[in-house]
């Protein structure tokens, strides 16, 4: 969707480039977060997409077309823009603010009006109440909601958001983060989102691009950044975020004494319930799942090194209430919903009981 090739930007009078060697591709419908400490070049990178800043070298393509081939204004009509300062136009009403881009695109009056109402409803603001108000009559959270739908108004393919929630109080911020996540699931826009708040990045981003001093340090999914940080900077920047869901299955599962496990030798004596029952032979080799009097093959297994988060995804693919844990073909234990539940309960109590425990 958006491809950066060898982008670099050095501002006039500056010694060091603000951005350099920037190569990345933002996929269609992706929520792509640019994050890093102040001065890392994240906002500069964002503003190069709608040509508020022109790169010194390199090219940016949108759907394989160099953005310099677009008329600058038309390009901007197709790229929504949400600012940190919200920047609703104070002399215009809410409806006029939302209608700015549709008007420039010469939509018909009634089309614009319908669109305005639709968008206001989408973010939970009653059109009849808010349409003719001035921005100053709205709370900060409401204003930025208008800021977001103003960017959406002409149905652009791409939306740029420059720290859109950082000026808001924590409550509004959380609410808007939830809204934007829901919105993204509905509208499936490509969103490039700048923030300095790692929680926000982890919560919202499909992928996160961590920058430092104009360079990309790491691009990856939130889990990749958390679990496979490229270097100490990434680790430090993310901080200690290894939550319960990152615990390896090994520490959560029940061992060989699990009620879901039996040796092939013991199988005939085992009660019919609980099910499933996973069977191993005298060499501990995993044989499969009891199926009446015989053994059925079991494809869905998990590794003790999987983290809980991934293990649960595997659970979602089956109806089983427990899954076998295999290490090099040998059955080492079983993980059941009950195990997970008990583990989480313990973790919760531990963290509530005091930090010294963990």
């Amino acid at each position: 969707m958006i491809t950066f090739t060898d982008i670099a930007k050095t501002f006039p009078g500056a010694d060091d480039p603000a951005v350099q060697n920037f190569n990345a591709t933002v996929e269609q419908g992706e929520f792509f977060v640019l994050i890093g400490p102040s001065g890392c070049g994240k906002t500069t990178t964002l503003k190069m997409i709608n040509r508020l800043i022109e790169p010194s070298t390199g090219t940016i393509r949108i759907q394989d077309k160099d953005i310099r081939e677009w008329d600058r204004h038309e390009l901007r009509w197709n790229v929504g823009y949400v600012l940190q300062q919200i920047a609703l136009f104070p002399t215009m009403t809410i409806a006029e603010n939302i209608a700015v881009v549709p008007e420039m695109r010469r939509w018909k009056k009634n089309e614009i009006k319908e669109r305005v109402d639709e968008l206001l409803q989408m973010v939970g603001l009653d059109p009849d109440t808010y349409r003719n108000r001035k921005p100053s009559e709205l709370s900060g959270g409401q204003q930025q909601r208008i800021g977001v739908i103003r960017a959406l108004a002409a149905d652009p393919d791409i939306i740029l958001m420059d720290e859109p929630f950082s000026a808001l109080d924590p409550l509004s911020r959380e609410q808007l983060q939830e809204d934007i996540r829901a919105l993204q699931q509905n509208i499936q826009k490509t969103i490039v989102f700048v923030t300095h708040d790692m929680d926000e990045a982890l919560a919202l981003g499909d992928r996160i691009c961590l920058m430092k001093d104009g360079d990309i340090v790491q691009i990856g999914t939130p889990r990749e950044l958390k679990n496979e940080p490229a270097n100490d900077f990434v680790r430090d920047f993310i901080g200690d975020r290894r939550d319960e869901w990152d615990t390896p299955v090994r520490s959560v599962m029940s061992g060989r004494d699990s009620q879901y496990i039996a040796s092939v030798h013991d199988m005939p004596e085992m009660p019919l319930y609980p099910a499933p029952l996973y069977i191993f032979d005298q060499n501990d080799t995993f044989l499969g799942r009891r199926d009446g009097d015989s053994i059925a093959s079991q494809k869905t297994v998990i590794s003790p090194d999987h983290v809980l988060y991934d293990a649960l995804k595997t659970f979602n693919d089956t109806d089983a209430e427990a899954l076998p844990v295999l290490e090099e073909g040998r059955l080492v234990g079983a993980l059941s919903y009950k195990d997970v539940m008990q583990f989480l309960q313990k973790a919760k109590l531990a963290s509530a009981g005091g930090d010294t425990e963990t």
């Binding site: 901007r76 009509w77 920047a87 002399t91 420039m104």
Partner: protein, 512 residues
């Protein structure tokens, strides 16, 4: 307080002229404000797009503002080579540029950069951004600038009377000239009310059109255009001789005499354009054909216009011939002079003259430390026949010399702040204030005889003109002139009526 009653009385008496002057004032002010806005707002906007040149350009406007308004008016006459409304409007416009320019620039430059970035980032081009965001945001500041300029213009326009542009300044100048506070108030109060009224109108238009960039401008524009166009349609004249005259009763009486004589004895139409602020303004007006004729003094021609002193003791005839010769070289005709000699004189308060036993200028010498003269700027500066000449010839100097406007001196004289003034022999207030004219025993002051000054071509193009004007040759004595001045200045008589009465009494009007 009798003054307000007098002013009201004057208002009822002068209704006709009052409304004409108000109209002129409004007209002149609105054109100037309009011109200033049309120049300063676009330039201000342009400067926000080229910030590097903003400070120098605003600096130029600031320099215009620092020029004293009267100087700017005088300057415009020289540049444009004409008097009246045009140079007044140009000067007022120049004067009003700075507040509008600066406020436009500051207003637009002060728009939150985030809003500008939002507008740009959403794909507005520069003009749309200006129209939709920046102008509406900056409008209160721009309007404040326009309002400041408007007050400036309405106030300064009172000075335009000095270059014959009319307006309420006419009353004020008359008041200063006659030391009549009622006239001053009749000009000053309506001028202040006009400023308040316009301010109110602008504020209301601004408030009712909030957020819409062009609406207030459009309203002001519409009204102002209306005001500007109406007189333009009305004034389709100019096929007539314009007779000028300097500030004061005497020149205006004379101008009216010329007018009456010309209209009675030729087929020509005339109009009178009196109240020109100074000799150079009047002379420039003649040169640039804004006026066709005006009465000028022989001594003024030689000393002021040509900077040539005449030898002490020159006779009237010698001075007149000298002046005529100088003027003829420049294609100007100088017709027969009148009888009276309105020369400079030094006049002392009668009681002091009696107490100190002063009769001649020479008698002043022992008292230079105790007597304070109050001279006009012109007299204090005239090398050949002013105060410097007195210093040269009589060989003494006053310890302290006040310089102030002629019309303002009478009060200072009455209250004893000054004792001695330069006067004209025909001035009415010599009678009114009981002054003693000191004898010029060393003949420093050259003769000052009034005579019609006009271009030779005007004379050639209008047969009968010369004969009509020469009817005044050798007429009007010092006493007669003093009397006529007194009637106008202190008895409120109309200039034209006084002129007509004199001409009729002396059988100068009818074709005999």
């Amino acid at each position: 307080m009798n003054l307000l009653e007098n002013t009201y009385q004057l208002f009822t008496d002068e209704q006709g002229q009052f409304w004409t002057l108000v109209w002129e004032h409004v007209n002149m002010s609105l054109i100037s404000l309009l011109c200033a806005s049309f120049i300063a707002v676009p330039v201000g906007v342009l400067l926000t797009r080229r910030r590097s040149i903003a400070e120098p350009i605003i600096g130029i406007a600031a320099v215009l503002q620092t020029i004293p308004s009267l100087a700017l008016l005088g300057f415009m006459i020289l540049i444009l080579n004409q008097i009246g409304t045009v140079p007044a409007v140009v000067a007022l416009t120049a004067y009003a540029l700075l507040p509008i320019l600066r406020n436009t620039y500051t207003g637009i430059a002060g728009v939150d950069p985030a809003l500008v970035e939002a507008a740009t980032g959403m794909g507005m081009n520069s003009f749309r951004r200006l129209r939709k965001i920046e102008l509406p945001m900056a409008m209160p500041v721009i309007m404040a600038g326009i309002r400041t300029s408007m007050v400036l213009i309405v106030g300064t326009a009172t000075l335009a009377a000095l270059i014959s542009a009319g307006g309420l300044g006419d009353f004020i100048m008359t008041g200063i000239d006659r030391a009549d506070n009622a006239y001053i108030l009749l000009g000053a109060i309506p001028a202040a009310l006009l400023a308040l009224f316009f301010d109110l109108v602008l504020r209301i238009t601004e408030r009712t059109s909030q957020g819409k960039a062009l609406a207030p401008v459009a309203v002001v524009l519409g009204v102002a255009l209306l005001v500007v166009i109406t007189p333009a349609l009305a004034s389709t004249q100019q096929e007539e001789l314009v007779i000028g005259g300097k500030e004061g009763a005497e020149p205006e009486i004379l101008a009216n005499m010329y007018s009456l004589l010309i209209e009675e004895n030729t087929d020509l139409e005339t109009s009178v354009e009196a109240g020109l602020g100074s000799t150079s303004i009047a002379f420039n007006a003649l040169e640039s054909d804004d006026i066709d004729i005006y009465p000028e003094f022989t001594g003024t021609v030689t000393a002021n216009l040509y900077d040539q002193g005449v030898p002490s003791g020159s006779t009237r005839e010698e001075v007149y011939e000298e002046a005529r010769g100088l003027l003829a070289e420049d294609g100007l005709a100088y017709l027969e002079p009148m009888e009276y000699n309105n020369t400079y004189a030094l006049a002392l308060r009668e009681e002091e003259a009696d107490n100190l036993g002063i009769e001649t200028i020479s008698d002043l010498e022992p008292h230079t430390d105790e007597l304070v003269p109050g001279f006009t700027f012109e007299f204090a500066d005239r090398q050949t026949d002013g105060y410097p000449a007195i210093v040269d010839t009589y060989g003494f100097e006053f310890d302290e010399v006040e310089t102030l406007d002629a019309g303002l001196r009478s009060n200072a004289l009455q209250e004893g702040q000054i004792d001695l003034i330069d006067a004209y022999s025909t001035d009415a207030y010599i009678i009114e204030y009981g002054l003693t004219v000191l004898e010029d025993d060393e003949n420093v002051f050259p003769p000052y005889q009034g005579a019609p000054l006009l271009k030779q071509e005007t004379l050639d193009d209008n047969p009968g003109l010369e004969e009509a004007l020469n009817r005044l040759g050798g007429q009007i004595t010092n006493e007669e002139m003093q009397e006529m001045n007194y009637e106008v200045d202190y008895e409120g008589a109309d200039h034209r009526e006084v002129a007509r009465d004199y001409l009729e009494e002396n059988n100068l009007l009818g074709s005999n």
